[in-house]
Amino acid sequence: MKKSRVIRYTLWQCVWPIVLFATIGCLSVRLMAEYDRRIDDGITELQKKTEGFLIKMERIAETPEGAYAKHIDFYDEVKVDLSALKVRADAIALNDLTSQQVGYLQDSFRKLEEQHKKGLKAVMIESIRQSFHTQFTTILKLEVAKKRNSAEGKRK
């Protein structure tokens, strides 16, 4: 009985430093998803596409050329792009914030499309641009911050 206790004690003395070092060695905290280049590139591409559309609309809004029917392709493309980004964001663990942001972007495009069906006025474009600009920027800002955390070696 006494001998087995000695053996157990000796074993524990050998094992605990290994456990401690392994724990410290592997221990790092991750509270948010890693930087995702595809989200970064996808949002940047969508921003360009949206800006191109808004520049055009500033010129042709309230003319037959600016009618919704002539721009269905733009909305279709945006829906596909955003759907891909949403699936991507949803699939990554600890990425809930980015996923919600993409969801709000989808909602904004849905609302813009609904309004375009009724008609878009040139005077509205600057405000629309500003709100989309903020949405794109906030998503990219978070993605860049994730990248910086990795780059500074604070996440292992």
């Binding site: 070092f21 221990l27 709000y104 006025k121 709100s131 906030t138 911050a145 994730k146």
Partner: protein, 113 residues
């Protein structure tokens, strides 16, 4: 002429509300929050002006405000994310200190952890 939106007073309220939620993470993101909140308030004022001058209808004003609301939500999510990343970086920096201390204690240039 409709009442002017008191952007400074509203900005203070918004900053106080966000600061209360983000607490100790707040100082790190305050400057960014202030810039974004101010932009949104300026837009709200602009939309109100367009509506007052009858350049846009009530429905169009509602759309523009809905878009601003989504922009605001996105700003808040980024603020939350920046706060979380700050905590993450601080925690890992603390763990690095422990790691360095163990390696130093072992000595002989060994990096066992």
């Amino acid at each position: 002429m409709p009442h002017k939106i008191d952007t400074d007073a509203l900005l203070k309220k918004m900053l106080a509300a966000a600061g209360g939620v983000l607490q100790e993470r707040w100082p790190r993101v305050k400057d960014y929050a202030e810039i974004e909140f101010r932009k949104l308030l300026i837009q709200a004022e602009h939309i109100k002006k367009l509506k007052f001058e009858k350049k846009i209808t009530k429905d169009e004003a509602r759309l523009l405000m809905d878009l601003q609301r989504n922009a605001m939500r996105s700003v808040l999510l980024t603020l939350e994310g920046l706060g979380i990343l700050t905590v993450e970086a601080a925690t890992n920096a603390a763990l690095d200190v422990v790691r360095d201390a163990v390696n130093t204690a072992v000595g002989r240039g060994w990096k066992i952890v």
